[in-house]
Symmetry: C2
Subunit: 544 residues, 2 copies
Amino acid sequence: MTSRATASLCRSMGAGGQGLRASRFTLAYQPLAARCSYSSIYTPKKKERVVILGSGWAGYGLARTLSKEKYDPIVISPRSYFVFTPLLAGTAVGTLEFRVTLEPVRRAGVGFYHGWADDVDFARKVVTVEANATDDMVGRTVIPPPGPDHSQEGAQPRLKGETFDVSYDKLVIAVGAYSQTFGIPGVREHANFLRDVGDARRIRLRVLSLFEQCSYPSRSETAAQQHSKDSSLRTATPLTDDDKRALLHFAIVGGGPTGIEYAAELHDLIYDDLRKLYPDLMKFVKITVYDVAPKVLPMFDQALADYAMKVFHRNGISVKTQHHLERVRLADGYLGSEQGGLKIKIKEYGDEEVSAGLVVWSTGLMPNPLVKKLEAKALPGSEATAPETVHHLLRDRRTGGIKVDPYLRARTTTSTDPAEADDKGASVLPDVYVIGDCAVVQDNGGALPKTAQVASQQAAYLARQLNKGDAAGMPFRFRNWGTLTYLGGWKAIHQSSADKLSGWLAWVLWRGAYLTRSMSWRNKILVPVYWVITWIFGRGISRF
Amino acid sequence: MTSRATASLCRSMGAGGQGLRASRFTLAYQPLAARCSYSSIYTPKKKERVVILGSGWAGYGLARTLSKEKYDPIVISPRSYFVFTPLLAGTAVGTLEFRVTLEPVRRAGVGFYHGWADDVDFARKVVTVEANATDDMVGRTVIPPPGPDHSQEGAQPRLKGETFDVSYDKLVIAVGAYSQTFGIPGVREHANFLRDVGDARRIRLRVLSLFEQCSYPSRSETAAQQHSKDSSLRTATPLTDDDKRALLHFAIVGGGPTGIEYAAELHDLIYDDLRKLYPDLMKFVKITVYDVAPKVLPMFDQALADYAMKVFHRNGISVKTQHHLERVRLADGYLGSEQGGLKIKIKEYGDEEVSAGLVVWSTGLMPNPLVKKLEAKALPGSEATAPETVHHLLRDRRTGGIKVDPYLRARTTTSTDPAEADDKGASVLPDVYVIGDCAVVQDNGGALPKTAQVASQQAAYLARQLNKGDAAGMPFRFRNWGTLTYLGGWKAIHQSSADKLSGWLAWVLWRGAYLTRSMSWRNKILVPVYWVITWIFGRGISRF
């Protein structure tokens, strides 16, 4: 990478093509121009810095494929790693080791700052970062507490730490979306999410801990084991059978692939492994999937969804559709339990609450607070003019995401209500790209789903575009590679535009797909090693 | 296992041989007699229950080798797993996955109650257990806070949880020893131990976090990276070079094998892996081992210890002998750090404190509070008689452990000061065995060291004895298999009564020894897989 490349890039940007309303972004353009001359005079080897916010499927995917010859990529993320999310459910039950789902961002050969992107100054091309290297909640999904107006979209849920600034030449916003609790009381506090590796660890500890708690001697057992007739044997409030039934009920809310796969993996853990260790407890175990919709796995056609339901039914997993969760609260204390059992209120059941030892929440996304903040900002060059010409990022009304053009560039609007803007009148913000869950790209009329597949295709597309140094050319187009979901007991379902598959063969495909798309060679080797080890020796069950 | 075996066992115990003063333990004997008749009449298949307190080298070693045909072993431990401690330092730097050092107790085919043994009623043959299945501190070494008298040997450091009772036929006390902080202020709060897998995880996160913190842009870097001359670029209190030097100083207290091996592994992590990711920080890194003794690795002869020091010197690891640590405290806050740096006061340096980002404490053991409690108890059958005939467990004055006879049975004494008792006059407490760090067995005149080797040999001996159903026979004899210590850079030292070895060959032996003695086949396969993976791809560096 030389000054020539930089200069050519400056030219292509400076040409003002690509349908930009250049005149409206004078301030944004000036630093680039200044940089070009500065860079060619004083630091001829300076590469353009691409700052990527986020280290998920979109951000990490871009970071590892962006040319390091041509660019100086810097990732800013509160996680020091990328999580291979489809395997998370497997780590949550001990089939896989947590770390085989992780790829350290620094190993991608990019710069990295561990922290939260707190703000962006689009005029000065600077990102403000809040340092996060000592966060104790490492690896856990964080849900913002309700804001002062008791809406769910409050401020970021942490104390303000130290901040520092990072300047960029190009900015890629790939911060994803937050989990949405729909304001249901108790979900944020008592339910477990399954989006990060710390969540998986917490769920795993909780499941094993529940079995351990229920295995303490109950009053009747103690009496039976007593060899002498000594009735003074002291046993403190042992669990009754009803208590055990309550604690060993595992409730999963959300019938999408994550919820269904976790239910399937949990079933495998309990019936393959824990049954041998806690045979007396098996009669108390129950797994239930709740969903508000009339049908789970909506992305699959009816035949495959029916097959999934048949497998679940045979495995004894209940699926309750059209059930609305209204509250989660702690039950009254149980023996030895600091967390206690939970009580779930479901609309359809009236006042009668359902007991559970674990609630896994895998439904709903909401905009990242940073996206909301950026959408509310007046964009550079527009502050001083009339109110009707103030620019904002173009917000998607339905999801709250940022709308992008077919080249994944952030679109802007002059409308006072960004969501009301006429799409056709919108322009783009130069050097700012949005990919992944926080981007809304119109594709063949319908918005794309918020999936890993879309995010990684967008990352690959943008890397190709930037590596070519050509921001125009072919627009982004999503190609559906198909959807896979594991159902437990070595069975899966697969659906793509070309074919449908269910059962054991789909399970082979499911494992194969994860292997070839698992990122690093390290994990490509370790994942099958763990599959074999688990197959031979059973799942890891140490409570750690 | 049949009633015949039980009956024969009853006979062998009831014979009152083995040098027991049977008359003094009437109460203890009666339940056994009652049980024999009860068992042969009502539950002919009842096996003798062996309750094992602890799941370390001694407790777990016994549990997995004790005959399940003959006995019904139940382990009671606050940890649900056994830790293969020699590999802990390797997990603390990401060479190995944490879980490959763990063996779940339940997989040994024994009963298990997850909790703290809180008390033993030797007369009724009952252990009181405090339930612990939901402990959040899972896997962390726990140091009791100073007691009300400000001694280091306070109560167990936790709130009283629910308790329940477990009866036993034979009791094996294998609760080990606690870490000793010698009352040095700040050690309990700010130093990291390295005895359990949670400790290793915490150390690992801390080291990686320190490098991450020090990689935030400093004021000068930010200025250099700034393309425009915009001086308003905001950067909050960046770390100075002195700050980085302070945070990247790793202090290890204790020059035994654990401390030396951790220093060696840390050196490997930093120079093999982190150097590539944080090249600019290498000039600030320093590793120091402090010890109060005039020489580290006292169990090795002078030539090997000298070799170790030469290797350390070449690797840039400082070893400061005859240095006395007097206090550890938090330094004043650093950028982004919730834990901040630490300040160490060392007697030899006067008032000038040494800065460090991490203090690893690997020196000193003290008696387990349960052992102290049991030693203070009046033993059954002795309460009602004259004070000079009150029995206690025989306490070792130097270490606070329980003295055992050559068959590892707990010894008792009638002396009012147990420590003052005449060893020869002491008797044994029937059906109570003590093994591992909390047992003191006189072997060829000198006490045995508190090592994994001694504990596992005692466990193997006791299992053999109990499986034979013969509590007499050959007394326990310790055979020194030799000592191995890793020094970093594929070098180790080995010393046994037969030979001495240093360098690469000793390293091969070191790895081989761990492989063959690593417990389960699962881990025997996974450990070398991780060694190869680390050799090819480097150590795991995700902060999780």
